[in-house]
């Protein structure tokens, strides 16, 4: 059996072949699913088990306790957990970055709100406060010369509820991600008033894969094997057709619907400079007390 072999394609010995990876059933994790489907992990000698996460925050205790070896998660959560000394992380692979249409601000069809400037003093529904969503919207507001208050202007709702929130008028605007943005646009004619993937937050790194430093240090070959597999998967995901094909297999999104989605970028390399943008923006909006040197958090892929 391939999976029981302790030697990866690279020739070095894997410290650990069975690994648990935390994931979320969203478009962002398409490469991970591609890697599973195409047997890319197997080819590296890895036996991967996936665990569903409800959101990013509980990845941290799960990584800490060893329930997960590697987890998908958004950078804002990863960086703030690390900066607060809650966990010592290493990013092992980039995951997903925004692109046109992936992160938008939407309002109801007949809403008087036309531009970002109209959001002043309004309530915006986001998935999680003090996180990437609010940061992107606040950046948009700042570009329009006003401030949105983290506490006063945002309410939390799960993405699946945002359509209802908008319909019932429980918030003035919403910040959905794909596929919800596209679906809400289609089903109730909600309008996009701003695409956050522009200006200072264009092609913004959203999420990646992390392990504890401890794990990365103790299992360098396993991490490298993971990185190689993910690298290939990311490359495959660059072809939109591959992503559209895999989406119906791990989410409940239908094939034809998948074809209409906006799909973000899947960077094939792990680049500290790019990720540093996230840390700096977090600092700017008060999500980090001090600047964070992202380079220290990168488990650089072994040069092969």
């Amino acid at each position: 059996e391939e999976s029981t072999k302790a030697t990866a394609a690279g020739g070095s010995t894997l410290e650990k072949t069975k690994i648990n990876i935390g994931t979320i059933p969203v478009v962002d994790t398409a490469p991970l699913q591609i890697a599973m489907e195409k047997g890319l992990f197997k080819a590296e000698g890895l036996d991967v088990a996936l665990t569903t996460l409800a959101g990013g925050a509980e990845a941290i205790p799960k990584l800490k306790s060893g329930a997960l070896d590697i987890s998908f998660g958004n950078y804002v959560s990863f960086f703030s957990a690390d900066a607060k000394g809650v966990i010592d992380l290493k990013i092992v692979s980039d995951g997903f970055q925004s692109a046109k249409g992936t992160h938008t601000i939407m309002v109801a069809k007949d809403s008087p709100i036309q531009t970002v400037a109209d959001l002043k003093g309004k309530t915006i529904a986001v998935n999680t406060k003090r996180n990437i969503s609010t940061m992107l919207i606040r950046a948009a507001a700042k570009a329009n010369n006003f401030d949105l208050d983290e506490d006063k202007n945002f309410v939390e709702f799960p993405f699946p509820e945002m359509e209802g929130v908008l319909k019932a008028g429980k918030a003035d605007a919403i910040q959905p991600v794909e596929p919800f943005g596209t679906f809400i646009g289609q089903s109730i004619g909600a309008r996009v008033i701003w695409d956050t993937s522009q200006g200072p937050t264009a092609d913004f790194p959203i999420a990646g894969y992390a392990a504890t430093s401890e794990f990365a240090k103790a299992n360098p070959n396993t991490v490298a094997a993971f990185q190689r597999a993910m690298g290939k998967a990311m490359a495959l995901a660059a072809d939109r057709a591959n992503v559209v094909a895999i989406i119906p297999k791990y989410t409940t999104i239908k094939a034809d619907a998948a074809a209409s989605l906006a799909i973000g970028g899947f960077p094939t390399t792990l680049n500290a400079t790019r990720l540093q943008r996230v840390a700096d923006t977090m600092h700017e909006y008060g999500l980090l007390d001090e600047t964070l040197n992202v380079q220290d958090l990168i488990a650089a892929p072994s040069s092969k």
Binding site: G55, A57, I60, P61, K64, S77, S80, A81, K84, G85, V86, I87, A125, T128, K129, R130, N131, D151, K152, F154, V155, E156, F157, P158, E161, G164, V165, A168, K170, A171, L287
Partner: protein, 289 residues
């Protein structure tokens, strides 16, 4: 608190302490306080030591939690009893919803519980829905709540009510159903019927069990207060607690947990004091006062 009170307040001894002089009274209070608080003190000390040894950021030592609580809520001006604006916002909002929800749930729960306890037939029709309803996890009903209630207080009160009504309801049904048959018979033969029977016989007889339900639901109400602030909310202790948890401000999260515990303790203390008055007959006939 009078001296006799201290002696018999919580313990089950049937013999009141003989009265003494002022000195002994002070000592009595001290001894009473010690007998009540020693375990809490020991546990807090153990907690402090243990957390300092394991150095786990998810388990900050109590001293750090106290600092976080102070910064969050108790570093305000003296004119506001040292409460910060955040404290006023958080506590005010949360407690308002808490009491609103709890009182509403108690009234509705006791009323329906009595009706179902009295009428087997009515209970047959309605009870299945009750057991169905109380097993539904609130997060699965978010969309319903969004559609049905205004954000903020209405939605939160609805969440609290839908969570805490069940213990009141079930305990009330049980209490009413198990009223001593001979008490009902006595009422019946003396023509004590209808509302009189309800007020003078059924409710007092079921009171100990109803009260147990009210007390369970008071603790539960605090929990649902937190749940209700999970979505669509901007202020409140729960909002803060969950926010702190998500942004890894763990001492703040613990501050939220501890303040809930303290609130729970205080609410319960008030509750027990009221209960002691209301159920005097019951407690003293059982040798508990």
């Amino acid at each position: 608190m009078s001296q006799a009170d201290t002696a018999t307040h919580d313990d089950t001894s049937r013999h009141a302490r003989p009265p003494g002089r002022a000195g002994t009274a002070v000592r009595g209070v001290l001894v009473g306080a010690f007998s009540r608080f020693w375990l809490a003190i020991v546990l807090i000390a153990a907690w402090e030591v243990a957390t300092r040894i394991i150095q786990e950021s998810y388990f900050p030592p109590p001293s750090k939690i106290v600092v976080a609580m102070h910064e969050l809520w108790f570093s305000g001006p003296a004119s506001r009893l040292f409460l910060t604006q955040d404290a006023l916002d958080d506590f005010g909002h949360s407690l308002y919803n808490l009491f609103g929800g709890w009182v509403l749930a108690c009234l509705v729960g006791v009323a329906i519980g009595i009706a179902l306890g009295l009428s087997r037939k009515l209970a047959d029709y309605i009870e299945p829905m009750i057991h169905f309803g109380r097993a539904i996890p609130p997060p699965t009903l978010i969309s319903f709540y969004i559609a049905a209630f205004q954000l903020g207080t209405p939605m939160q009160v609805a969440t609290i009510v839908s969570g805490v009504i069940w213990p009141v309801l079930l305990n009330t049904i049980d209490g009413v159903r198990t009223v001593e048959q001979l008490h009902l018979d006595s009422a019946e033969v003396f023509g004590v019927r209808g509302i009189r029977r309800l007020m003078w016989i059924v409710i007092p007889a079921a009171a100990p069990k109803i009260v147990a339900g009210l007390r369970i639901s008071l603790g539960l109400a605090l929990i649902l207060m937190i749940l209700s602030e999970l979505i669509g909310s901007t202020v409140g202790i729960g909002s803060l607690l969950i926010g702190a948890q998500r942004s890894f401000e763990l001492p703040q999260m613990w501050a939220g947990i501890v303040i809930l515990g303290v609130l729970g303790y205080l609410l319960n203390a008030v509750f027990v004091a009221v209960e002691k008055r209301a159920l005097r007959w019951h407690l003293s006939s059982r040798g508990a006062i």
